[in-house]
């Protein structure tokens, strides 16, 4: 009974998890449209003096679009439709058909030709005024993100017209990141002017522009070149460290995939002692569940992914239980036969998927909030989908640990695996425990499939590519030890990523396999063996 409750709780947690992830915030207030319109109208007047006044006003406003407008105005890309008088921005004025968008809403408006539009004109004096304003326009925005973007744009763009105002902004700026960017931008300008102490302000900056600016100087002679060389060396060191972090991140993310794929096996093989060669196909079923739900809910990939988490678990668990009841229980105590029979099942499942869907790979849409990356600095960006897989892996692992360690089901599982007859004599329903454990292990394979669908394509062969890896992880970590599986999966992932740059992906994989094969010869019980007579 208790175990049933726990399984309910487990599902509820899964469901909540899915929903929380799918509720992505889209709230963004649209700017005050009428104010925007007014400011634009003020630009489209005859008198250049009035225009200059309007430009100043626009620069002082806190409109989000002002930087873009000023830039467009400077380049002559702020134009007005003859028909209806709407302000548009020409995104590119190459060729005949120009792609345009609404200046206020940013909405794409298709294409237009030169004849459909009127340019908002400026003279040379206004142009030089705009030069500085456009670049620094967003620097006084209350939004830190926008200030940082503006500061980043300034790098390499600072000239005599803007240098002073940038210096002023730098004094006023409070945010550390923005400050660093402004300092870099200003430093680069001063370096161009030949100021030696500018190098000091550029030390440690990872912006590629800095390296490009320093390199020619470092190639020369004299004290300035020496300075530049040490600065460049420092930057290289920092870059190396960041690349190392990036490798580590990829390694952990690959390790998480391995752990997710193997942890279900650690339950069915490690704890129950059942060899399930169809484990990889259960992963595949989880991935296809995601694909199907996305097909059923077009346009809502986030919601679909959220629903896939419990659904993938259930589908894989159902198949797993069917395999246990239909085949495995007749082969108790005959591990080699179990291996062969479940391999047969894996062939059937593969062909089933090929017949029902297609032999081709299908791609699963990644929801917006899992696209893109978390930028730490110029050399280190963490892709969000991988980050999500890492977090997901840790959550699943923790939940599983709690189930195995803290619940009645976990206790019963351990009792049944250690001494089946005795456990039955104590009133444990061994068959029911078998079903639940196998369902749990299989369900987790399904979860792994859901997670994998966010990283790779979904296809009938995807299970096969994970089964050997999963077994290796479980055996490497020490059979029957969940912590071992976690450590083994993570370390294999990291090792693989470390080797990959100089050995290539395939050779890295071969080397890792060879390493494990040799390791198992040396320590047949894995990293964390069970000891004593019980282990015999």
């Amino acid at each position: 009974m208790i175990s049933r409750q726990l399984i309910h709780t487990f599902f509820s947690v899964l469901l909540l998890l899915g929903m929380a992830l799918s509720l992505a915030a889209h709230a963004e207030d649209s700017a005050d449209a009428s104010q925007a319109k007014q400011l634009l109208e003020a630009l489209d007047v005859r008198s250049y003096d009035a225009k200059g006044e309007a430009i100043k006003q626009l620069a002082q406003s806190d409109l989000p679009q002002k930087g873009e407008w000023l830039e467009a105005l400077r380049d002559g890309r702020l134009q007005r439709q003859k028909d209806g008088g709407r302000f548009v921005i020409v995104e590119s004025d190459q060729g005949r058909e120009w792609p345009i968008k609404d200046a206020i809403s940013g909405e794409e408006l298709g294409t237009a030709t030169r004849r459909d539009l009127d340019k908002v004109r400026i003279n040379n004096q206004l142009r030089s005024q705009l030069q500085g304003l456009a670049a620094t326009a967003d620097l006084d925005s209350p939004d830190t993100g926008r200030r940082e973007a503006a500061a980043k744009r300034l790098i390499g763009e600072v000239d005599e017209t803007t240098a002073d105002s940038v210096a002023v902004r730098l004094e006023q700026e409070t945010d550390g990141d923005v400050k660093a960017r402004l300092r870099t931008a200003l430093g680069l300008y001063r370096l161009e002017q030949g100021e030696a102490d500018a190098i000091d302000t550029l030390r440690g900056s990872l912006d590629p522009a800095v390296r490009n600016a320093l390199r020619p100087i470092a190639a020369g002679d004299g004290p300035l070149a020496d300075e530049a060389r040490t600065a460049l060396n420092g930057i290289e060191q920092k870059l190396k460290f960041n690349r190392w972090l990036q490798t580590l991140y990829f390694g952990i993310s690959m390790g998480s995939v391995l752990v997710l794929a193997a942890i279900g096996l650690a339950i069915t093989f490690g704890v129950m002692g059942v060899i399930n060669m169809a484990h990889g196909e259960l992963i595949m079923l989880g991935a296809y569940t995601t694909f199907v739900i996305q097909q059923l809910l077009p346009g809502q990939p986030g919601l679909a992914l959220g629903l896939s988490i419990p659904a993938g678990f259930l589908v894989a668990a159902a198949f797993g239980i069917a395999i246990e009841r239909g085949v495995i229980r007749f082969l108790k105590g005959r591990p080699l036969e179990t291996l062969l029979a479940t391999f047969g099942i894996s062939l059937i499942l593969q062909q089933l998927v090929r017949s029902v869907f297609s032999p081709l790979n299908r791609s699963v849409v990644t929801p917006d909030w899992l696209q893109g990356s978390l930028v730490i600095n110029d050399a280190l960006a963490l892709t969000l989908n991988r980050l999500a897989v890492i977090v997901f892996c840790l959550i699943v692992f923790t939940a599983l640990m709690i189930i195995m360690r803290r619940t009645r089901l976990g206790l019963e599982v351990r009792a049944v695996t250690q001494n089946r007859t005795m456990a039955r004599a104590m009133g444990v329903k061994a068959a029911r425990v078998d079903i639940l454990t196998f369902g749990l292990g299989s369900g987790i394979a399904g979860l792994a499939g859901v997670a994998l669908s966010q990283l790779t394509n979904v296809g009938p062969n995807m299970g096969q590519s994970y089964i050997i890896d999963s077994f290796m992880v479980v055996v490497f970590g020490g059979v029957g030890n969940l912590w071992g599986t976690l450590v083994a999966g993570m370390s294999l992932g990291i090792v693989n990523q470390v080797i990959e740059p100089w050995a290539g992906a395939v050779l890295a994989k071969i080397l890792v396999l060879a390493f494990i094969i040799l390791f198992i010869q040396k320590r047949p019980r894995g990293l964390f063996p069970q000891k004593g007579r019980a282990a015999e």
Binding site: I275, V327, F330, L331, R334, P335, L336, E337, T338, L339, L340, A341, F343, G344, I345, S346, L347, I348, Q350, Q351, L352, R354, S355, Q464, I468, F471, M472, V475, V506, L507, K509, I510, L513, A514, I516, I517, L518, I520, Q521, K522, R523, P524
Partner: protein, 375 residues
């Protein structure tokens, strides 16, 4: 009192005579039928002869696997690797025989190396233009791999499913390695476009017939070697190791030596099977290393009946015939059938076809003895 233990010689044994006899009859009949004029009702096409030759190679591979799995209880999921290595050794010999007749006409380098812009033959390709050297490699390469791998594994007492899984990892790693062009074995495409073997045209009817007969002789020899082992005291020792490894150790046997010796013999037989397979099929590529092939051959043995040797031959022939039929008529159904076969054999037919035959025989015998008792 003990006269009935091990008195008949190998060549007087009923099962051995049956196997050798059946093999002889089939070989002679097929060869003669192939010599008939085309259009004769009994004519067997050369294509079919080569197909049968391929089946015989598979049968030898199955016998080799049965020796280690059926008698010693070691389930190798990587026996395809030994088969493939033997095949590659033969393939390398055949590649060297092409000479300047390749597409690029390079007298020294095989086509794929010219294509990869290589200028020199890699060191491990040297010597393969000699047939005896290549044949030695057919035995030695799989044998050496089995020796090193087995020595490591058996010494540290890796057994049961663990051994199965690491053998699978072994063949998987080899497959990935052979897919790489840098390995110098032709990458994805493997070795193909063979022209000559021992000076004879590979595609000529005479050559094909000879290779078919050679496969048959190899199968007979392989069967005799395995049977000689299994009926000796060593064979009984293998069964003892399978049933209780610890007991065997405590009565003074070095279990790891027994396993290693038999494993190496089996790997070499697999290598021979692979070497005969390649010229008849005309290609060897990394797919032969795929874990699927290795595990498929396990089901041949399982279906035929483990620990019988002749069962392995029957199993290999039946499954491969089924495969040829299925893939011709409805290819998508083959994996369903194969998968179903795995489940069926393990759950419902653990002793395989040989078990069924024996059961019928046993029934007949008890019926006969009852008759006698009545009379």
């Amino acid at each position: 009192m003990m006269q009935d233990v091990q008195t008949t010689s190998l060549f007087k044994e009923r099962s051995t005579l049956l196997v050798l006899g059946a093999l002889l009859v089939v070989t002679v009949a097929v060869t003669l039928a192939n010599l008939l004029p085309q259009g004769h009702p009994l004519y067997v096409s050369t294509f079919t002869v080569s197909l049968l030759g391929k089946y015989l190679c598979y049968a030898l591979l199955a016998v080799a696997l049965d020796l280690v799995w059926g008698y010693l209880g070691i389930l190798s999921l990587g026996h395809g690797a030994f088969f493939a290595l033997g095949g590659y050794a033969m393939g390398m010999y055949l590649m060297r025989q092409i000479g300047a007749r390749g597409v690029y006409g390079n007298p020294e380098l095989p086509d794929f190396m010219v294509f990869l812009n290589w200028h020199e033959l890699p060191w491990y390709w040297h010597g393969f233009s000699s047939f005896p050297f290549a044949m030695a490699m057919v035995l030695l390469v799989p044998g050496a791999l089995a020796f090193v791998f087995g020595w490591l594994a058996f010494r540290s007492r890796v057994s049961g499913v663990y051994f199965s899984i690491i053998t699978q990892a072994l063949t998987y790693a080899l497959m990935l390695a052979f897919y790489r062009n840098e390995m110098g074995f032709g990458g994805n495409n493997g070795l193909t476009d063979f022209k000559e073997i021992l000076g004879a045209d590979v595609w000529a009817e005479d050559t094909r017939r000879t290779m078919f007969i050679a496969s048959s002789v190899a199968l007979a020899a392989g069967y005799l070697i395995c049977r000689a082992i299994t009926r000796s005291r060593l064979g009984r020792l293998c069964v003892a190791v399978r049933d209780s490894e610890a007991r065997t150790r405590f009565i003074g046997y070095r279990v790891e030596h027994v396993k290693l010796a038999v494993f190496v013999v089996s790997a070499m037989l697999a290598g021979v099977a692979g070497a005969l397979y390649v010229p008849q099929v005309g290609i060897i590529n990394p797919d032969q290393f795929s874990p699927l092939f290795s595990i498929e051959l396990v089901v041949w043995v399982a279906l035929g009946g483990r620990a019988t040797l002749y069962g392995a031959i029957i199993g290999a022939l039946v499954v491969n015939y089924l495969k040829t039929v299925f893939t011709g008529v409805m290819p998508e159904a083959w994996l369903f059938a194969l998968g179903g076969l795995f489940v069926l054999v393990t759950v419902a037919l653990p002793k395989g076809i040989a078990g069924l035959l024996r059961f019928r025989q046993g029934q007949a015998r008890t019926a006969a003895s009852r008759q006698e008792a009545k009379a």
